[in-house]
Symmetry: D2
Subunit: 406 residues, 4 copies
Amino acid sequence: MDFEYSDKVNELRRKLQAFMDAYVIPNRETFEQQIAESGDPHFYPPILEELKAKARAEGLWNLFLPDDEYGAGLTNLEYAPLAEIMGRVEWSSEIFNCNAPDTGNMEIFAQFGTEEQKKQWLEPLLEGKIRSGYAMTEPGVSSSDPINLQFTIKREGDEYVLNGRKWWTTGASRERCQIFIVMGLTNPDNPIKHQRHTMVLVPRNTPGLTVLRNLSVMGYTHNDGHAELVFENVRVPVSNRLGDENAAFAISQARLGPGRIHHCMRSIGAASFALELMIKRATERSTYGSRLAEHGVIQNYIAESAIEIEQARLLTFKAAWTMDTIGKKAAMNQIAMIKVVAPRVHTNVVNRAIQVYGGEGISQDTPLAHMWATGRMMHLVDGPDEVHIRALARSLIKQASLAKAE
Amino acid sequence: MDFEYSDKVNELRRKLQAFMDAYVIPNRETFEQQIAESGDPHFYPPILEELKAKARAEGLWNLFLPDDEYGAGLTNLEYAPLAEIMGRVEWSSEIFNCNAPDTGNMEIFAQFGTEEQKKQWLEPLLEGKIRSGYAMTEPGVSSSDPINLQFTIKREGDEYVLNGRKWWTTGASRERCQIFIVMGLTNPDNPIKHQRHTMVLVPRNTPGLTVLRNLSVMGYTHNDGHAELVFENVRVPVSNRLGDENAAFAISQARLGPGRIHHCMRSIGAASFALELMIKRATERSTYGSRLAEHGVIQNYIAESAIEIEQARLLTFKAAWTMDTIGKKAAMNQIAMIKVVAPRVHTNVVNRAIQVYGGEGISQDTPLAHMWATGRMMHLVDGPDEVHIRALARSLIKQASLAKAE
Amino acid sequence: MDFEYSDKVNELRRKLQAFMDAYVIPNRETFEQQIAESGDPHFYPPILEELKAKARAEGLWNLFLPDDEYGAGLTNLEYAPLAEIMGRVEWSSEIFNCNAPDTGNMEIFAQFGTEEQKKQWLEPLLEGKIRSGYAMTEPGVSSSDPINLQFTIKREGDEYVLNGRKWWTTGASRERCQIFIVMGLTNPDNPIKHQRHTMVLVPRNTPGLTVLRNLSVMGYTHNDGHAELVFENVRVPVSNRLGDENAAFAISQARLGPGRIHHCMRSIGAASFALELMIKRATERSTYGSRLAEHGVIQNYIAESAIEIEQARLLTFKAAWTMDTIGKKAAMNQIAMIKVVAPRVHTNVVNRAIQVYGGEGISQDTPLAHMWATGRMMHLVDGPDEVHIRALARSLIKQASLAKAE
Amino acid sequence: MDFEYSDKVNELRRKLQAFMDAYVIPNRETFEQQIAESGDPHFYPPILEELKAKARAEGLWNLFLPDDEYGAGLTNLEYAPLAEIMGRVEWSSEIFNCNAPDTGNMEIFAQFGTEEQKKQWLEPLLEGKIRSGYAMTEPGVSSSDPINLQFTIKREGDEYVLNGRKWWTTGASRERCQIFIVMGLTNPDNPIKHQRHTMVLVPRNTPGLTVLRNLSVMGYTHNDGHAELVFENVRVPVSNRLGDENAAFAISQARLGPGRIHHCMRSIGAASFALELMIKRATERSTYGSRLAEHGVIQNYIAESAIEIEQARLLTFKAAWTMDTIGKKAAMNQIAMIKVVAPRVHTNVVNRAIQVYGGEGISQDTPLAHMWATGRMMHLVDGPDEVHIRALARSLIKQASLAKAE
């Protein structure tokens, strides 16, 4: 269980950090401005394309992808500290073609896609030319228990006919999101509940598919967006199926592990950045005759934040290491743990930083308010905290029973 | 210490609740839509004027004002449950001419204004024809310790000359905010630190005054807004002074007590509404074979929320009662307590409700995300939590020392 | 909902506080010493008898009993602040014949006892000549769900035959505990689960009954004790039944409301005392160049403690008031709330005080360690926190459903 | 940063765990009984001597000592998981000669002792033949800020004369504690505050030294005890000085790092054991128709406990690793972090387990109540939590300032 950064990782960290400092941080305002000027919150700002080109030229591209052929060939443990650095700016992952849900989508295309599917969708995704959506969550049902999903995919001859609604399809609010991976019921009466659903590929311009609207996140409209989609008798050829019929849950599971590591490390990166800001502010301002940094309560905020961040980082490294060396199943409990811990650290630390900044902290003048909103979203993305706590507890109880039975 | 609602209060509660149900709740969307369609987030929507007329016609007007002549003549304890009802919809207080900061401003106009000032500003405020701003907080300094305030007001002959910046001036982003009460240093070298500042009235259109921009609140742009103001050699006649020279702190203190009761009761109203939504959702959705309402963790959220709300309400009643019957000074500790407690209950309960709603909770489809943002702001409005905790502790320690010395 | 102390209550508070200051606080050590010297932790120390005589002479006797004939005729709301004062010293309630479980036992004797039962047991209890036990909780089953209780009471002719074990029978470790109210299954197959159990009176010296051992509380051995009892074919006449057959749950419910108010107010009294000690210590000691009272973290402890205490007190008053004026059923939710809140305040505040006292706080040199242990016990007495949270949530959900259905 | 257990460590873990299972756990009752029967809580029970002999024979001896010559030659990281296993039974460390404060005392004897001091005291300590005390903390002053220490050590000719009081001298309540390392003021007027104190060795039977009394810990009397010592003109030869004059702080610092790792790992061991008990109980009992393990709130307790333990363990490993590979100074922040985290995990997890056990949890029938008391003590041992939080925050702020200045 060696968490030390290898020379290769340290070199990538150095390059990535330098890139962030040189090109991303100074362009935060440009990014916002280009979008604002376009009048369309989902406008794809030219600065993004510029930065993508630069990043790719420097070899900071597809870092997330463990596959040697398609990506950087890093393990989860090696990629983790890079995701942490990206987490400092909300929209930076896309610069390195490392943003969700495309990362997970590329993984399942690589793993389950036919050669044709790979050619048509994986290749342009790897190039960053198009984006993809993952349409699983549905309005009107508690999707945190996926058994509840109602969307139907019926086979008629050589076609699948899709009907229903999906929402929280991240990325879909931009036109460049060209392909959706859609999960729906193909065998609703199967007594094995986890073998009722299938994944099907639906191109954006397929008749019957409407990108209805964008969902805001705690008041923020994300540039890539989180869309609600309506499918009315949407027809695609059977060859658009991803993986086997009724195998959606298995594919979905395959996708989750690394994605959670990425999310968590970005959250830890956001929290670290907030802690830096907090300390900075605490040393610059004074009340009641002392610098904020000398007030016991502010010291408390700083120390508790550092403790939370350090622990969450080590735990995420362990989850990544376990996934890399033993496997996803062995890492399951650890992944549930970080899925609960990292969003908490994200919102806790940012929330304390906001309090240290006072009114400025809740305004547009610092990135903190937006960072908090993103952290809040992470308590729900890929299942609410409560679902992971439940799963973790049940797994621990089961393990204890098995140990006892031995 | 009788907290029971009198017949008069019950009658007002009934009327107010009926008004909210009949006219406010059903017009939430209209309110948002009229603003959105105008293209200006600070557009004054016609629905507001309509509802104000209706409310006034029903006698639901200036309920906050204890003064029999100008207002409803209610005590703080009597007004508290009405503020709670208004708290259910963010923008509803203005309908009843009960919104901050105009309430506090009207109070100090009534208490410290000259007859001319009352005629010119208090009367149209009481009519709801104009709005007013309270310009105290400054960018660039920790305004939670008001000794830090830097804004200067220099007397030159019969005029005051104002220079500096103010921000978080609530209401100022709408044109109809016609008058600002501005606090600044008139005697910066006074060894008595709390007698260095003066309050001066500045009409909106005074040369040299620029309403620079609006500040967003955790991603939300409020219709009335929170503005940053720039004062460059702004000149007003000496007769525009409110109260005595160097008496700004005393006036500011006079203004605070009731305002905090109002804020806290609105927070409690918001929390109660969130709890209702939480229970509603918990009874409508199911996961893992049970209604959410049957899950122990959700039951926990419901019970803890109810406990927090009930305690905060009683504490606020006690603060109001003490202020009404003994006086503001005697109520000081209790006001500090509710100032800490009510924003916590606001954010805690809304946050739990969001979690129960899942993705929908962070979106624009429920009022919860916006309610949370407002609650988060309340942790900073009128001083951050930490300042009130410090003041309360110091007061308790001092009281203990005095008791011991006796 | 008038919480103000009447003149009568203020007079009793003054007398009780004076009694505590003059006789109880100065005799804390004597109490401990007399027990220690006897070599028997359950020795009944003479100082207790002395203080009881004094208290009775001053009219500070049976204050808890709302019945005018037998007791002081105070309402729950009137008695509450008196219980708070008693809560400052762990063993003081008995001085005033106001200690659990005798208080609750006297209530049900008065309410459900036959004339003969009253004469034999209630009268000496009211005189403080004997003590009584309430044997409900059982080892080996989760008694927090009383349906689980296994103890059997079989009728054979004119006798009941009792078999089983009980524990946590408070008071039973002292010989002077002469009578046990025992709850057991008389109709185990009744489909109405809450009509299976009966209450039966068993004198201490009945053959077959063994007071097996005392249970310690977080390391402390209480003088009155919490005993484990074994019943082996214990026979009592049918006339020893308390109330109707299979009515144990109804009787048990009748007993609970006031008892919870008492417990909670004593917890609040303990917390208030701990806060006083905390402030005292914080003003006497210094670290790093400042008095502890000037450290932000210590100020935080003081302020948060005061806030918790004040809120818990008001909530308990409301529960008492509701019980007095509307009835137990109406007060049910509020009683559940205080049952959760008061033990928390008890342990939270004492825990902070311990931390301020450092090593001394965990030693025998302050009452804090013992106070904490008692507070910890209160999280479990009369059902664990979790059970009350569950009951409260279910009740709120049900109320919401009913409101909706109307 | 490799945290994986080496083969050597795994072999020691296996042996130690087997020893605990075979000899320690089954003798818990014997240990308590032998002490109880002796009538002296500080009686040295024969079972301890027996187990020590066995452990030594198996090579499970002085495992803590990194020194190859005197001890097992393990690094801190290697010893950490062994301390965790010992933490499962409160008194087990002594069996392996690994108990505080002897471990730290042996370390400073080895590092700072003269050959004669080593011969006289270190050797029998390494053999487990005697025990030693570390007399630093004083009654009457806030010893968490050691500058406050008042105890005087005056040089008179070839002797030191010691006067003052010490308390919380762990181990001293047993006769076999033969030597005290005593810290006192030798140069009280030194402007460099951390160079005023000296360490001096005082044998137990030195005239003028009284072991006054034992201090209990949250109601528990520990067998080795925590004593209060009175020194009245105690005279020892100058050769009894440990290290240089006025160097006590430096020596004290040298002692702290590893000791904190040991304490923290034992706390983590205790928490792990409590979690096992919690799960066990949750699977065995039922309420309201479900096993406790199926209740959401209990699942919450289990999952949160596992998350806390896992994070604390990784953090402690990191602190140990840093100390081993970079050095104590580099590990300073991490040691402060675990010093705050581990006692929290200890008390949090045990507290939840108690709640799951109900009344039994607070009684003598499980080890939980005693475990909690020990955990509570750990929030104060080696400085209260607040001191470490303050130190950590100040260090982080300083680091940030330095980084900025670069």
